[in-house]
Symmetry: C2
Subunit: 215 residues, 2 copies
Amino acid sequence: MADEVILLSVWASMFGMRTRIALEEKKVKYDYREEDLWNKSSFLLEMNPVHKKIPVLIHNGKPVCESLIQVEYIDETWPGENPLLPSDPYQRAHAKFWADFIDKKVNVTARRIWAIKGEEKEASKELIEIFKTLESELGDKHYFGGETFGYVDIALIGFYSWFGVYNKFGNMSLESECPELTRWAKRCLQRESVSKVLPESEKVTKFIFQRLGLE
Amino acid sequence: MADEVILLSVWASMFGMRTRIALEEKKVKYDYREEDLWNKSSFLLEMNPVHKKIPVLIHNGKPVCESLIQVEYIDETWPGENPLLPSDPYQRAHAKFWADFIDKKVNVTARRIWAIKGEEKEASKELIEIFKTLESELGDKHYFGGETFGYVDIALIGFYSWFGVYNKFGNMSLESECPELTRWAKRCLQRESVSKVLPESEKVTKFIFQRLGLE
């Protein structure tokens, strides 16, 4: 029986991007279904009754929730092509630490820039610090895991398509503040899995401005 | 060469308890070092420079941070005895989902009961709902993973030693609200790994009251 793989997501979600990139890396065919967060499908509510959030990956009828867990699940279910996590336990723990750092810090801080009035300045500074910490973890490596594109790259790259939003609301240029990270992002974009999935920064910015009624 | 395993933690930390229980389950000998959070050791700051938080597990000189990542690391490094995560990818993802749910919901909500004045009532209600959700996931299973004590049990059990704190500040009885979860906790406490590590609820309550200058 062929695998039936469905992904419920929203095109601008950096979390959904993770799962899509992982599926592309593994060359898994999947049925992508765009959700409307203001009018969630009953299928989404049924598949993720606890959090009621996207992305949800449904493999042969069974849901997997939370993007990083989905990426690990994809890596374990289709282990042959392009391993995403290292096999060494210490290296795995190291990769998970940085993906967890991204999850705990980046989005929470970034949202304060564009979604909470009055916090733009403070949150912008903090976000730059967070990206600089990531930049120093990257060091002079090609990808976060070394020579091979993998888990931490997938965890972070979606946020690059939101740089335009952060820059505009935070009145800054993340590209100038973090030139190494920007070079890394451009390197990632040379991969088909990433270029196929990441939207243009301008498109995300326009979408957010429209959503907030600023345009 | 024998393994050198060091754990930096604080006795009342439910996160540190996770790592200690996992080490006990695997029968790994380790050097436990109590930290003072108001005067952190330079070794802690050196081993976890990003978050500067306990617990930190140091294996042959190399640090692993974040308690759930430590539990996975322990399971992968000493796979022989008492597997903590299931081997099937879907079951693994399912266990990780619930551990992540605990991390995202339980502590954040519980802290609002005892650490944020004015939020006790609302947060107590929410915490009961969270534990009821966990209770319904447990169902009539012996442990969260079925017959075998494992990852989700380890992620949750430490909070049981804080029930006294939540009850006192929230003016409630979590034991009466969640009888099935209480029975599960008592079952866990029959395991040597858990009984050896979990402090008495009264001891935790006394400690918190002293810390807050309420006694």
